[in-house]
C-alpha cells in the first residue's frame, strides 16, 4: 500500500471517531478524537494494519489554551496516522490505556503518567519509570508551571510492584552498579536455583531533562545538546533534529550535504555495531573477541576524526547542511579503511556463526518469533532478526537514502545468533553503500543560509539509529527556541521484549539477553537530579557549577 492509500484508508476507518481531520505534512494524517474513543480507534487501526504504535507525545498547551494534548502516532511505511486527544488541564485527568492491545504502550503510559500527570486507566503498571523514588507526588516536570524548587526530594518509598511468589523466590538485583552494565539501570530477577521466574526493571539513572532543556535554548544550540544524548548514536539524533527543523523552515539541503550526512551515519553504524559486538562478547566471557573488535573499531574512530574532527560526537551537521567537505584525500582514506574493515567484519561474521563455544551461548537462546516481535513492538536489528521487516531507511527513506538506498537484512531464527548475524551483515551492506556514495559524491554546496526564527508548525522526523527507529516530534511557535521537542529512542521499545524473554532462561543468560538487544540507557533517560549520598539536594545546573567552584576554592585554601 502506498502512503496515500494508507492515509485514505485511515481517514475512512477513523471517520466515526473523528472530531476533525488535518494534514500537517504530506505523509501525515492527524485525527482529533475523544479520550474515551481511544481503545476503539486503536483497535480499528491495528486490525486494518495501518501501523504500529511508534510514540506517544504529551504536551502541555499552556494556560491560555488550558488543555493538555496527548498524541498517539502510528507508523506504517512512510505514513503516520496520529490520534490527537485533548484533556482538561487539571491534576490527573483520565485517559484509557491501550497496553492490553499493545504491550509496549505500558512504558509510554508510565512516562505519560509521571511526566505530564495524566491518569491512565487500566494500565498494568503505573509505577514510576524515570523519576526517582524521592520525587514528590503531584509535581509533573512537563507541565508549563513546573519550577525546579518544586522538585525538592521527599522521603523515598518503593514504587515498583511486587513480582508475585513463584516457587522459591530469591531475587538477584543487577544494577544500578554492576560490572555487566556499561550504564546504570536496575533489574531485578526472581530466580529459582538458576532459572529465572520473574523480571522487572527501573530506568532513569542517567535522566538529564533534555526535553525540557531544549525549550530554553535556541535552535542552533539544541543541535549540540541533542548530539550528546548518546555517544554512539549521536549523529542520528542530530540528523533527525536537523531534518525536522529544515522541514519546518522549508529549506532544501543541498545533495552533497545529504550524501555526506549519510556517509557519516554509515560510519557511525559501523562504530556502534563493532562496539556492541565487543560488549556482547565480553558479557559472554569471550574477551578475545572483545579486544579484537574494539581494536578494529579504532580504525573507524580514527577515520571519523580525520573526516569530522572528533572521534565521538562528530558535530558535522549544521542546520542547512554540513560543516566540512570531503576531498579526494578523504575519499582515499575512506576506501582504505573500508578495505580493512570489510575483511575483519567478514571474519567476525564467520566467528559468530561457527565458533562452537560461542554458539553454545547464543544459539537457541532468547528466541523471539515473528508474532512475538510484532506484539512486543520490537525495533531495529532485534526485530529484523526475527524476520520482521522494519527499517526506516527503506520504509520511509530520508535524506540521501532516496539516491543511495540500502538493502534490508533479516534473519529467521530470532535467537541471539540471528541478532549477531543481522548486525554483521548490515555492516557489510553499510560498507558497500559508503563506498558507492564516496565514488559518486554529488557536487554542490555544503550548506545554505538558515533563518534564526523558525516559522510555527509541527513536524515528525524518523531516522534509523543503529538500534532501531528514533522518533522526533518538533513543535515550533515561531520563535528562536522550540516550544516542544519529544524524542522517543529505540531502546525504550526493545526492553519489553528482553524482559519477557528472560523468564524461563538461566541467570547466566541474562547479560547476553540484555546485551542482545543492544540497550542504550543514555538514550532512554533524559533528566536532572544531582544527589549526594546522605543529604539529598536537588541542584540546578548553575547552582551545581557554583558549588563545584566554591569547593575547589576551599580545598586550595586549606592546602
Amino acid at each position: 500500500m502506498t502512503t496515500e492509500t494508507i492515509l485514505q484508508r485511515a481517514g475512512e476507518v477513523l471517520a466515526p471517531f473523528s472530531k476533525g481531520n488535518s494534514t500537517p505534512e504530506t505523509n501525515r494524517l492527524d485525527v482529533q478524537i475523544e479520550a474515551s474513543d481511544l481503545p476503539a480507534a486503536t483497535a480499528v487501526i491495528l486490525s486494518n494494519n495501518l501501523g504500529y504504535l511508534s510514540a506517544i507525545t504529551p504536551t502541555d498547551l499552556g494556560k491560555e489554551v488550558n488543555k493538555l494534548e496527548v498524541i498517539y502516532h502510528f507508523c506504517e511505511g512512510a505514513a503516520i496516522t496520529s490520534l490527537r486527544i485533548h484533556l482538561p488541564r487539571e491534576d490527573q485527568p483520565d485517559i484509557p490505556s491501550v497496553s492490553d492491545q499493545i504491550p509496549v504502550a505500558s512504558f509510554f503510559e508510565r512516562e505519560l503518567g509521571e511526566m505530564l500527570g495524566v491518569h491512565v486507566v487500566g494500565t498494568p503498571d503505573s509505577s514510576r519509570l524515570f523519576l526517582p523514588d524521592d520525587w514528590p507526588d503531584g509535581v509533573y516536570p512537563l507541565r508549563e508551571d513546573f519550577t525546579i524548587e518544586q522538585a525538592a526530594p521527599v522521603t523515598p518509598r518503593e514504587t515498583l510492584p511486587e513480582m508475585g511468589r513463584v516457587g522459591n523466590k530469591f531475587t538477584v538485583p543487577i544494577g544500578p552498579q554492576h560490572p555487566a552494565l556499561k550504564e546504570p539501570g536496575h533489574f531485578e530477577f526472581a530466580v529459582d536455583g538458576e532459572i529465572i521466574t520473574g523480571a522487572r526493571m527501573r530506568l532513569g539513572y542517567v535522566h538529564r531533562g533534555i526535553e525540557k532543556a531544549t525549550e530554553q535554548r535556541n535552535w542552533i544550540q539544541n543541535l549540540y545538546l541533542l548530539e550528546r544524548i548518546c555517544g554512539i548514536c549521536s549523529h542520528t539524533h542530530t540528523s533527525a533534529y536537523a531534518m525536522g527543523v529544515e522541514k519546518l523552515a522549508q529549506v532544501e539541503v543541498p545533495q552533497r550535504a545529504q550524501a555526506i550526512r549519510e556517509i557519516v551515519a554509515g560510519l557511525e553504524r559501523i562504530h556502534s555495531h563493532l562496539l556492541w559486538l565487543g560488549v556482547a562478547a565480553h558479557e559472554a566471557g569471550f574477551d578475545t573477541l572483545f579486544m579484537y573488535s574494539w581494536r578494529d573499531r579504532e580504525t573507524v574512530m580514527d577515520l571519523l576524526e580525520t573526516l569530522t574532527g572528533n572521534r565521538v560526537n562528530y558535530s558535522i551537521s549544521v542546520l542547512g547542511g554540513v560543516k566540512y567537505d570531503f576531498t579526494a584525500e578523504h575519499s582515499h582514506a575512506i576506501h582504505k579503511a573500508m578495505d580493512y574493515l570489510e575483511e575483519r567484519i567478514r571474519y567476525y561474521l564467520h566467528i559468530v556463526t561457527t565458533d562452537a563455544s560461542f554458539l553454545q551461548r547464543t544459539r537457541g537462546i532468547g528466541t523471539m518469533s515473528l508474532e512475538e516481535a510484532k506484539h512486543f513492538g520490537a525495533l531495529g536489528p532485534t526485530a529484523r532478526a526475527s524476520g520482521l521487516e522494519r527499517d526506516v531507511r527503506i520504509d520511509s527513506p530520508y535524506g540521501a537514502y532516496h539516491h543511495f538506498p540500502v538493502s534490508l537484512i533479516t534473519a529467521e531464527n530470532g535467537d541471539l545468533e540471528a541478532r549477531f548475524e543481522v548486525r554483521m551483515k548490515e555492516l557489510l551492506v553499510t560498507c558497500f553503500t559508503i563506498r558507492t556514495i564516496v565514488d559518486n559524491l554529488p557536487p554542490g554546496e555544503l550548506a545554505v543560509r538558515f533563518p534564526r526564527k523558525i516559522p510555527a508548525g509541527e513536524t515528525i522526523s524518523r531516522v534509523e539509529a543503529p538500534r532501531g527507529e528514533a522518533f522526533y516530534y518538533i513543535k515550533s511557535g515561531g520563535g528562536e527556541s522550540p516550544t516542544r521537542l519529544k524524542i522517543r529512542t529505540p531502546s525504550l521499545c526493545n526492553w519489553t521484549s528482553a524482559l519477557n524473554k528472560a523468564v524461563g532462561h538461566q541467570l547466566a543468560d541474562v547479560p547476553m539477553l540484555i546485551a542482545g538487544m543492544d540497550p542504550c540507557f543514555s538514550c532512554n533517560d533524559r533528566m536532572i537530579t544531582v544527589r549526594r549520598k546522605n543529604d539529598s539536594q536537588t541542584l540546578s545546573w548553575s547552582q551545581m557549577r557554583e558549588y563545584g567552584i566554591k569547593k575547589y576554592a576551599e580545598t586550595r585554601e586549606t592546602k
Binding site: T171, H178, P179, E283, S357, Q360, P511
Partner: protein
C-alpha cells in the same frame, strides 16, 4: 641441623616466601601471555606483587551478619592448605621436601580444600552474588574433581605407587604424555577447571555475579585468597608437569616445561567463551569422566598383560 634445614626450606626456599613469589611470577606470566594473544601489552612483572601489597594495606570491610570465625579464618585455612600441598610436590624443579606413602591423595585433597573454603566463604557472605558463586564453585568441584583425579592416577598406576616423589622418579624415565595421551589432555583441561580459569570461570563470572564467592571480601582476606590461588597455580602445574612431562630433573628444564604448559593454558583461555555452569558439568561428566575411565582401563589391561 636438620631442624634448621627444614625450617629454612619451609619458610624461605623452595616453599614459603619463594613459593609465594613464584606464584606471583606464574600469575604474571599467565596474564602477560593472554594479553599478547589479544594484541595488547599486558601488565609489568611486578603487577601481582603490587596488587597483593595494595590489598594487604586496605581496610577490611566485614558485612553485617556473617560468622566472624568463618569470615576471618577461612582465608587463612585456604592459604595454608595450598602451602601445605606444596610440601609434597616437586615445586620449582626440586625434589619434594617431605614425602610419605600415599601423599598424592593428601596433596590433592589439600588443593581441594582451597575450593571448599571458597565455597564456604561464599555461603557465609551476606550477599546473593556470593551465594550463587559459592554454589557454582562447589558444583564445578564435583564436576572436574573425578576426571582430574583419575588423570593423575594414570601415572600413579603405571609407577605402582601412591607417593609423589616415586611417581616423579618413574615419570623421569618414561615419557608419560606419550604413553597416556588421553590422560594428559584430561589433566591439562582439568587443571583449568581446578584453577577456575576461562572457559571454566563460571564461579567467578564478572559480568553475571560481580566476583562470585569472594564478592564480599576485601583487604587482607581477599589478599590471602588471592595468594592461595597463585600458590595453587604453581603446585598444580608442577604436579602435572612432574607426572606427564618427564619428572624432576634439571630445575631449569622443569621450569621451561611448566612454562610450556602455561602457554597452552593461555592459548585455551583466549580462544574459548566462558561455559555456563550446566554446560561445564555436562561436559565433564559426559566426556571427561568417560575418557579418564577409558584411560585407566587401558592401563589396567596393559599392566595385566605385560606382567
Amino acid at each position: 641441623m636438620s631442624v634448621l634445614v627444614s625450617l629454612l626450606s619451609l619458610m624461605f626456599f623452595p616453599a614459603g616466601i619463594s613459593l609465594i613469589l613464584s606464584g606471583m611470577l606464574y600469575e604474571w606470566a599467565d596474564r602477560k601471555l593472554v594479553a599478547r594473544f589479544q594484541n595488547r601489552i599486558g601488565p609489568r612483572w611486578f603487577q601481582p606483587l603490587a596488587d597483593t601489597i595494595k590489598l594487604l594495606s586496605k581496610e577490611e570491610i566485614k558485612p553485617h551478619g556473617v560468622n566472624n570465625l568463618l569470615f576471618y579464618g577461612l582465608p587463612i585455612v585456604a592459604l595454608s592448605g595450598a602451602l601445605t600441598a606444596a610440601l609434597y610436590t616437586p615445586i620449582l624443579g626440586f625434589s619434594p621436601i617431605y614425602s610419605f606413602q600415599g601423599d598424592l591423595i593428601v596433596a590433592l585433597y589439600l588443593l581441594s580444600l582451597l575450593t571448599m573454603c571458597t565455597g564456604l566463604a561464599g555461603w557465609n557472605g551476606a550477599s546473593r552474588f556470593s551465594l550463587i558463586g559459592a554454589t557454582r564453585s562447589l558444583t564445578q568441584l564435583f564436576a572436574y574433581e573425578a576426571p582430574f583425579l583419575l588423570a593423575l592416577l594414570g601415572p600413579a598406576m603405571a609407577a605402582g605407587t601412591w607417593t609423589i616423589k616415586d611417581i616423579s622418579t618413574y615419570a623421569g624415565d618414561h615419557w608419560m604424555f606419550l604413553a597416556q595421551p588421553v590422560g594428559f589432555v584430561i589433566a591439562l583441561i582439568g587443571l583449568m577447571g581446578k584453577l577456575e580459569l576461562p572457559p571454566f570461570d563460571a564461579p567467578e563470572a564478572e559480568t553475571e555475579i560481580v566476583a562470585g564467592a569472594l564478592t564480599e571480601y576485601s583487604g587482607r582476606g581477599l589478599a590471602l585468597f588471592h595468594i592461595g590461588k597463585s600458590v595453587e597455580l604453581v603446585v598444580a602445574i608442577s604436579l602435572v608437569t612432574a607426572f606427564y612431562l618427564g619428572g624432576v630433573g634439571n630445575p631449569l628444564i622443569f621450569l621451561l616445561k611448566t612454562l610450556i604448559i602455561l602457554l597452552f593454558m593461555a592459548m585455551l583461555q583466549s580462544m574459548l567463551t566462558r561455559l555456563r555452569i550446566d554446560q561445564t558439568v555436562g561436559m565433564w561428566w559426559r566426556f571427561g569422566a568417560l575418557l579418564a575411565l577409558l584411560q585407566i582401563l587401558v592401563i589396567v589391561l596393559l599392566k595385566g598383560w605385560l606382567a
